[in-house]
C-alpha cells in the first residue's frame, strides 16, 4: 500500500502535525511505502531531510513561484498531479486551515468523500478505520471510506512527533506543473502574523479564560490571579477576536502552544481547537456547565461561576 502525506510549512519549518502524522502512519502501516508531497517556492533542503528522518521514503516536490503562498486552486492542481504519479491508497493531511481547505477539494474531484479531523487510524486485516470524536468529544464516530482512494485530515495535536526518529535521506522526485489564468483567480495579499509580545511557551502557570469570562473588564480577575501565582494569562480565540485581551495571549490551534505545570481554564468550553494547544501537567477547570468538554481533560475542577470562584481562589491563596 502507498500513503501520501501532504507536508505543510509553518514559520519556516515543517509543521509539527505533519511530523506527527509521519510517525503515526509509519507505526500503523508498517510495510507501506510512505511518501510526502512538499509544495512551495524555494523549498529548503533541510525540510526534505526532515521529512525523510521522520519516515518519508520519497518526497515529491513542486517548487514554483505560484506555490509560494497557499491558495486553494494551485494546490488542488499540484496535489492531484502527485496523486496521479503515486496512485496512493491514503492521502492524509494535518487539519490545519490549509489541510482542511485542500483535501475535501481533491477528494470530490476523484468522486469520493473525506474523513475529517481524525484522532486515530487503525488497520484490522484489510479494513482501515478512521476515528473522529464528535459532540464535544463525548462520542466517537468510527468510519470507513469505500473505494480505492481514501482522503483523511487529522485533528491538530492528535499525533505525537517521534523524538528519536531514525529515517534516512529520502528520494526526491521533482514534479513539473503549469498554471493557467483560471487557476489563479484568488490572489494572495498578505499574511498578518499575530503579534507575539508575550511568550507563553515557558510559562509555568497559566490562568486562561474563554467566552464564559464575559468581557474585557472581567479579565481583570484572571490577570490578578495569574500575577499572584507568578504566571501568565491565556485566552481562547473567541476572547482575542472580541478584543477582550490582546491576541498574543491566544492559546490553541491558531495561537500559541503551551506546556505549563498548571493550567487553570476558566469559562472555557474545551473546543478541540483550543485544547490542541495545551499540554499541561495539571489542568484545573472552572465552568458552570457540567457537560463542558473541558472536564474531559481536567484533573481538578469546580462546577461553578468563575466570577465567584476566581476571587475566592485569589483571596485564599493571598491569605
Amino acid at each position: 500500500m502507498k500513503i501520501l502525506v501532504f507536508a505543510q510549512i509553518r514559520d519556516d519549518k515543517i509543521e509539527e502535525n505533519t511530523l506527527g502524522i509521519l510517525n503515526k502512519v509509519n507505526e500503523v502501516f508498517k510495510d507501506s511505502e510512505i511518501s510526502a508531497s512538499l509544495f512551495g517556492s524555494n523549498i529548503k533542503e533541510e525540510w526534505i531531510k526532515q521529512l525523510g528522518v521522520h519516515g518519508a521514503k520519497k518526497v515529491y516536490t513542486i517548487d514554483v513561484p505560484e506555490l509560494e503562498y497557499y491558495l486553494s486552486r494551485p494546490n488542488v492542481k499540484a496535489l492531484s498531479k502527485v496523486i496521479d504519479e503515486i496512485q496512493p491508497t491514503i492521502i492524509i493531511a494535518a487539519g490545519t486551515v490549509y489541510g482542511e481547505d485542500l483535501l475535501p477539494r481533491v477528494a470530490i474531484r476523484r468522486g469520493v468523500s473525506c474523513a475529517q479531523r481524525i484522532t486515530d487510524i487503525t488497520k484490522e486485516g484489510e479494513e482501515i478505520l478512521f476515528y473522529t470524536p464528535v459532540r464535544d468529544d463525548q462520542a466517537m464516530k468510527v468510519q470507513k471510506i469505500t473505494g480505492d482512494i481514501k482522503f483523511v485530515t487529522t485533528r491538530t495535536g492528535a499525533f505525537f512527533v517521534n523524538e528519536n526518529p531514525t529515517g534516512e535521506e529520502p528520494e526526491v522526485i521533482s514534479v513539473d506543473i503549469t498554471f493557467e489564468e483560471k487557476d489563479l483567480l484568488v490572489k494572495h495579499v498578505e499574511i498578518k502574523k499575530a503579534e507575539v509580545t508575550v511568550n507563553l511557551k515557558d510559562a509555568k502557570v497559566i490562568v486562561a479564560g474563554g467566552r464564559g469570562v464575559g468581557g474585557k473588564d472581567q479579565f481583570a480577575i484572571l490577570k490578578e490571579l495569574a500575577s499572584i501565582l507568578g504566571g501568565q494569562i491565556g485566552a481562547t480565540r473567541a476572547c482575542t477576536d472580541m478584543n477582550w485581551v490582546e491576541e498574543t495571549y491566544e492559546i490553541g490551534q491558531t495561537g500559541q502552544s503551551v506546556s505549563p505545570d498548571v493550567y487553570i481554564a476558566a469559562g472555557i468550553s474545551g473546543a478541540p481547537q483550543h485544547i490542541s494547544g495545551i499540554k499541561a501537567k495539571t489542568l484545573i477547570a472552572i465552568n458552570t456547565d457540567e457537560g463542558a468538554a473541558i472536564f474531559n481533560y481536567a484533573d481538578y475542577g469546580i462546577i461553578g461561576d468563575l466570577h465567584i470562584i476566581l476571587p475566592l481562589l485569589k483571596q485564599k491563596i493571598s491569605d
Binding site: R10, L71, S72, V97, E100, L102, L103, P104, R105, I108, V112, S113, C114, A115, Q116, R117, T132, P133, V134, R135, D136, Q138, A139, M140, K141, V142, Q143, T146, G147, L185, V186, K187, V189, E190, I191, K192, A194, V205, G230, G231, M242, T254, G255, D261, P272, T282, I284, E290, G291, F295, N296, D299, Y300, G301, I302, I303, G304, D305, I309, I317
Partner: protein, 266 residues
C-alpha cells in the same frame, strides 16, 4: 447581486443530552432545534451585503427535523426568501452527497453570484462541504473567512490562519465560508422580520424538483460510512467539585491540591 446562504438545522449543543444521545432525534423537541451557529454567521455575512449592495439573499435549508423553523428564522433576520429541501432518500451524513445536492440547488436557482455558508457544522465537526461545493461548481472560494471588505470589483477577505490571519482577494462571484468572528456576529431578528417570516410562502423542494439521480445521493452512494458510533468513556480519574457553597469548594480544591503535592504558584 444574488446570494444563496446554505444553512443547516442542528440540535442546540446546550441541550442536556450527552454523547450519542444528542444524535437520537426521538429525544429532541422543536425548542431544541437551532440554525447551525456558523451558518448564522454566514447569514450575517450575506445580510451585510444586502444592506450595503442591495443584494437579494435566499436561505436554503436541506434536511433537518423541522427545517421550516430554520428558514423562517433566516427570513426574520432579513433574508428575502427561503427554500426548504427535504427528501427522505437523501443521505446527508456524507459531506460529498450534501455538496452534490447543494450544487444542484445552485444550478436550479441559476445566476447566483455568491454563496455563503458556515465554515463547519458544530457537533458533527464536519467542515468539508464548502470546499467540495466550490470544486463541484468550479468557482473561486475562500474558507474560514473572518471579515469581508468590498473593493471596486473584488472582495478582500481576511481568513483564519494558524498564528495570525491571511488576506486574499477573490472575484465577486464565488463561495465564502464564515467563522464566528466579530464581523459575522449574527443580528437579532426584528419584530417586523418575525411578522414577515410568518406570512412568507416557503417553497418545499424534494428530488422531484431537483431531479438528481437518486442512486448518487442515497445511502448506498456514500463513500464515507459509519462503522460504529459510541460514547467515549473517560478513564481519567479527576477530582470535580459541584453543588456546594463556592467557599467550601475552593477550600476543598486547595486542600486536595496540597495533598496531591501540586503547587499552584511558581
Amino acid at each position: 447581486m444574488k446570494i444563496i446562504v446554505f444553512i443547516r438545522q442542528i440540535v442546540n449543543p446546550q441541550v442536556k443530552l450527552q454523547g450519542v444521545d444528542y444524535f437520537d432525534t426521538s429525544r429532541i423537541s422543536e425548542d431544541d432545534l437551532i440554525i447551525n451557529p456558523f451558518d448564522k454567521n454566514a447569514l450575517e455575512g450575506a445580510l451585510k451585503l444586502k444592506d450595503s449592495e442591495s443584494a437579494e439573499v435566499t436561505a436554503i435549508c436541506v434536511g433537518g427535523i423541522k427545517p421550516s423553523k430554520a428558514v423562517r428564522e433566516a427570513i426574520a433576520m432579513g433574508c428575502n426568501d427561503a427554500v426548504e429541501v427535504v427528501d427522505d432518500n437523501y443521505y446527508l451524513e456524507d459531506p460529498m452527497i450534501l455538496a452534490k445536492i447543494y450544487s444542484k440547488i445552485v444550478e436550479k436557482i441559476g445566476d447566483v453570484d455568491l454563496i455563503f455558508t458556515g465554515c463547519e457544522e458544530q457537533s458533527s465537526s464536519s467542515y468539508a462541504v464548502p470546499a467540495m461545493l466550490a470544486e463541484l461548481l468550479d468557482i473561486p472560494s475562500v474558507l474560514y473567512a473572518e471579515e469581508i471588505e468590498k473593493t471596486v470589483d473584488r472582495f478582500r477577505i481576511s481568513h483564519v490562519l494558524e498564528g495570525g490571519r491571511k488576506i486574499v482577494e477573490m472575484p465577486m462571484r464565488g463561495l465564502i465560508s464564515c467563522t464566528d468572528s466579530q464581523y459575522f456576529v449574527p443580528r437579532y431578528t426584528s419584530m417586523r422580520g418575525i411578522l414577515t417570516s410568518k406570512r412568507a410562502q416557503i417553497p418545499q423542494w424534494s428530488n422531484e424538483d431537483l431531479k438528481l439521480d437518486e442512486a448518487t445521493v442515497c445511502e448506498n452512494a456514500a463513500s464515507l460510512t459509519v462503522s460504529s458510533f459510541s460514547n467515549i468513556v473517560i478513564e481519567k480519574d479527576s477530582y470535580i467539585l459541584k453543588e456546594e457553597e463556592p467557599d467550601e469548594m475552593v477550600d476543598k480544591l486547595l486542600a486536595k491540591l496540597k495533598e496531591d503535592n501540586i503547587k499552584l504558584g511558581v
